[in-house]
């Protein structure tokens, strides 16, 4: 009998736990440890952030699903990793701390045969002075409660504009020089713009995009060349076309470092220090690792064997210049090289480097996006990790037959551009591969143009809504859930 412990119940952790449970006989134990008692479909938080969905529309409680399916669950957070056990415990374990109920604050050693670390990112608001959701007129949509707060803030602003007939400024984008997840901010700015039109106050509001990207449409993926109708278009041109069409201004190469009431202070690539004022802002914070520590059996600190901010996996972490980056640098199995029974899919793994070209300001500050790992690759990498563990348990040896490098994987991204059954809009995009392969696709920006395309329109909104319902159905593990791809 094997025991598989999954840390985190986000897209990655939940997908891994669900597949493990479905494919493994019941005498093997699957246990999920996660501090949030709810599963949230994060991509729909942008709709919570404009008040078109309620938080309850995007989450459901995990425990009843897990109980029904025979998956163990502890509402706790991982504190430290002990992959060799310790003096009193032979087996590898994770020290976890309960966060809810009678056991809140109590720590426990959770032993495992296989460990999946799917703890995603820490939302590192503290890395930007004064950036905290709901303060200084700045908000976040990274979680459903942040998004609900943002919706309240946006509503209050609209009411104020309507009452006083005054003008206002909205700032949306990234809140740190090395933030990622530009896609989510992009969706939010377009949704906010549409809402302001719907509420009849669009002409009173100046909307500005602020981002650490060097060009529009970089998305932390070095931008892309895509098929658009019968032509080929750069993602920068596509986003510029959309922003112009919507009357959205933009500030690029901006590393926001400090927030004050209605003010975002940033440094740009020219090395200038500037301030942008606003009445409402939504800025994505930096994502960091959780700061976990690891210890060997003698209680010696071995954190550097497991973590490099995020968890170390089978990537090539050798530092090299942008020109020498290859797709081979990216991990394929998400296995920790020091402890082969530990894996880190989704956002939890340490990427070998960025995808976008690194840039420094004239003052030497790094200002460029960190690499994004969106929902689809998070789900795919979690499933392949689960499949490799299942094979290892069933066959008795670790064959690692299941592989999925971001350099050999496509991603679909349906960016909402406005909510509404007939008035909504979405930008449907696919990219293959996620990490550009400049050797294979020399003349097309590292991407296969047959599989990299963009489309704008109402159908995109319907698609995004379909995904919302389909993925919540899947996450609830309802009949034939596993037929829905990751």
């Amino acid at each position: 009998m094997s025991k598989i412990v999954v840390l985190g119940a986000g897209i990655g952790g939940h997908v891994a736990a669900a597949h493990l449970r479905r494919k493994l006989p019941k005498d093997h134990e699957v246990l999920v440890v996660s501090p949030n008692r709810n599963y949230q479909w994060v991509p729909s938080n942008i709709w919570v952030g404009i008040g078109r969905m309620k938080p309850k529309d995007v989450f459901f409680p995990l425990e009843p699903v897990y109980r029904k399916k025979g998956i163990g669950y502890k509402q706790a957070k991982a504190v430290s990793f002990h992959p060799e056990g310790d003096a009193s415990q032979n087996k590898p374990y994770v020290l976890v701390e309960y966060v809810f109920g009678e056991k809140a604050g109590i720590q426990e050693k959770v032993t495992y045969d296989f460990l999946i670390n799917a703890t995603g990112p820490k939302l590192a608001f503290e890395l930007t002075e004064g950036l905290k959701p709901g303060t200084n007129k700045a908000f976040s949509v990274c979680t459903y409660d942040h998004a609900e707060q943002a919706s309240t803030g946006l509503n209050a602003l609209v009411e104020r504009i309507k009452k006083s007939n005054s003008r206002a400024k909205i700032l949306i984008g990234t809140g740190h020089a090395k933030a990622t997840c530009q896609g989510a901010a992009f969706e939010y700015i377009l949704n906010v713009e549409r809402e302001l039109v719907r509420l009849g106050v669009r002409d009173k509001v100046e909307i500005t995009w602020i981002s650490n990207e060097y060009t529009l449409g970089d998305f932390g993926m070095d931008g892309m060349l895509l098929t658009y109708g019968n032509s080929t278009l750069k993602s920068s041109d596509m986003v510029e076309m959309i922003f112009r069409d919507r009357g959205i201004k933009w500030i690029l190469g901006a590393g926001v470092f400090k927030m004050e009431d209605g003010k975002a202070h940033y440094e740009n690539l020219e090395g200038e220090y500037k301030t942008e004022e606003f009445d409402f802002a939504m800025l994505i914070p930096a994502f960091s690792g959780h700061g976990f520590k690891a210890f060997d059996k003698d209680n010696k600190d071995i954190t550097e064997k497991l973590f490099k901010g995020f968890m170390i996996v089978d990537a090539d972490y050798t530092a090299k210049p942008y020109e020498e980056w290859t797709v081979q640098d990216w991990p394929e199995t998400y296995q920790n090289p020091s402890y082969p029974n530990i894996f880190a899919p989704g956002i939890a793994f340490a990427p070998p480097h960025a995808i976008s070209k690194p840039r420094k300001s004239k003052n030497g500050t790094d200002i460029f996006p960190s690499p994004p790992r969106t929902g689809m690759p998070s789900g795919i990498t979690a499933k392949l990790v689960a499949d490799n563990i299942i094979d290892a348990i069933k066959q008795g040896n670790m064959t690692l037959n299941h592989k999925g490098s971001l350099g050999n994987m496509g991603a679909a991204c349906i960016a909402s551009a406005g909510y509404g059954t007939t008035s909504g809009s979405g930008i449907s995009m696919t990219t293959y591969p996620i990490v550009p392969n400049y050797n294979k696709y020399k003349n097309t920006g590292g991407r296969d143009l047959k599989k990299t395309f963009g489309d704008i329109g109402l159908a995109g909104h319907w698609l995004k809504l379909t995904l919302h319902y389909a993925f919540l159905y899947k996450a609830k593990m309802k009949p034939f859930w596993w037929l829905i791809p990751e």
Binding site: M241, D314, N397
Partner: protein, 50 residues
Amino acid sequence: MRQEISESQRLRMQNPFIQIFKYIYLSLKILKIVAGGHGGTRKVIANPRP
């Protein structure tokens, strides 16, 4: 040349009738890419079971 969304494009983008066909077309196209699979980019030496 600067790209712009023309009035006729805008009408097509928001026309529910046209967009139903777009929806089916895009769903299939995306599914094809998603179902296209994934794999490695280099050889991995198999590890023994821990």
